[in-house]
Symmetry: C2
Subunit: 148 residues, 2 copies
């Protein structure tokens, strides 16, 4: 099992970062504008990226201001059963996010892509909270020669 | 042992991407402007990031247009002995880079930070080759609340 790891520091309090991870409006402001479903524990959030694909995340843990955990229940085969873990920690007047996309079975090439793509979406989350404007799908940062 | 993985696609031929990894001028245009040393196999390249720190990389492999491998010989303790591996592959008129920072002993918090930071420097490399302008230290992308 291998994991994607990231860390960013955001100049916004943990409460605001948590809301960006635990509400549909918050999520739609930095990841994909087509975010639907329910956000309570045990519910499934649907993240649609046009015709590029989608992820369905079951909410496993919600600890306000501290931690959010999702499990991927539908989406690309490599993602099924993996977990996305957000740990928030206060830092001065802001927040440090420790991010982990845990439980990839193999370090496939798609995992390399997703690692870089997560970094750009974490920077989108940071920008959204600090400046009011993220790089949300379909206006996300292109990391490849093709559309994504 | 755990690894940082990334993938980016760059609209520039493998020859140009290779030159950005295998020459001092190329490296200084996307990573840190203070890049010194020698770039031949067995030589050491010194990457200085002002008072934030430095990395000394011994060049282990150079396969023009295809692959570059470095071993960290001096720098942060967590980096010593790790390897940075760049595999280049032609894609249409451009290049796909598979990047690996291999051999971390533990998934320490600093590894999370470095994973995100590598992504921003890979995007700097991409921008430098596609637009002529990277986000080179000291004008690199800030991913934390503090300077780095």
């Amino acid at each position: 099992m291998v994991d994607i790891l990231h860390r960013v520091g955001i100049d916004a309090p943990p409460r605001d970062v948590y809301n960006a991870l635990a509400t549909l409006d918050g999520l739609a402001a930095w990841w994909t504008n087509d975010t639907t479903g329910e956000t309570g524990i045990g519910s499934v959030i649907h993240f649609q990226f046009g015709d590029r694909g989608f992820f369905d995340m079951k909410v496993l843990e919600l600890d306000p201001g501290k931690r959010v955990v999702w499990e991927v229940v539908k989406g690309p085969g490599d993602w099924i059963g993996t977990r996305v873990i957000w740990d928030l920690r206060p830092y001065e007047k802001g927040t440090t996010i420790l991010f982990k996309h845990q439980g990839w079975r193999e370090p496939v090439e798609f995992m390399h892509h997703c690692s870089t793509k997560w970094a750009t979406f974490l920077m989108s989350l940071k920008a959204m909270l600090e400046t009011g404007r993220g790089s949300t799908f379909p206006n996300d940062v292109r990391i490849s020669i093709d559309a994504d």
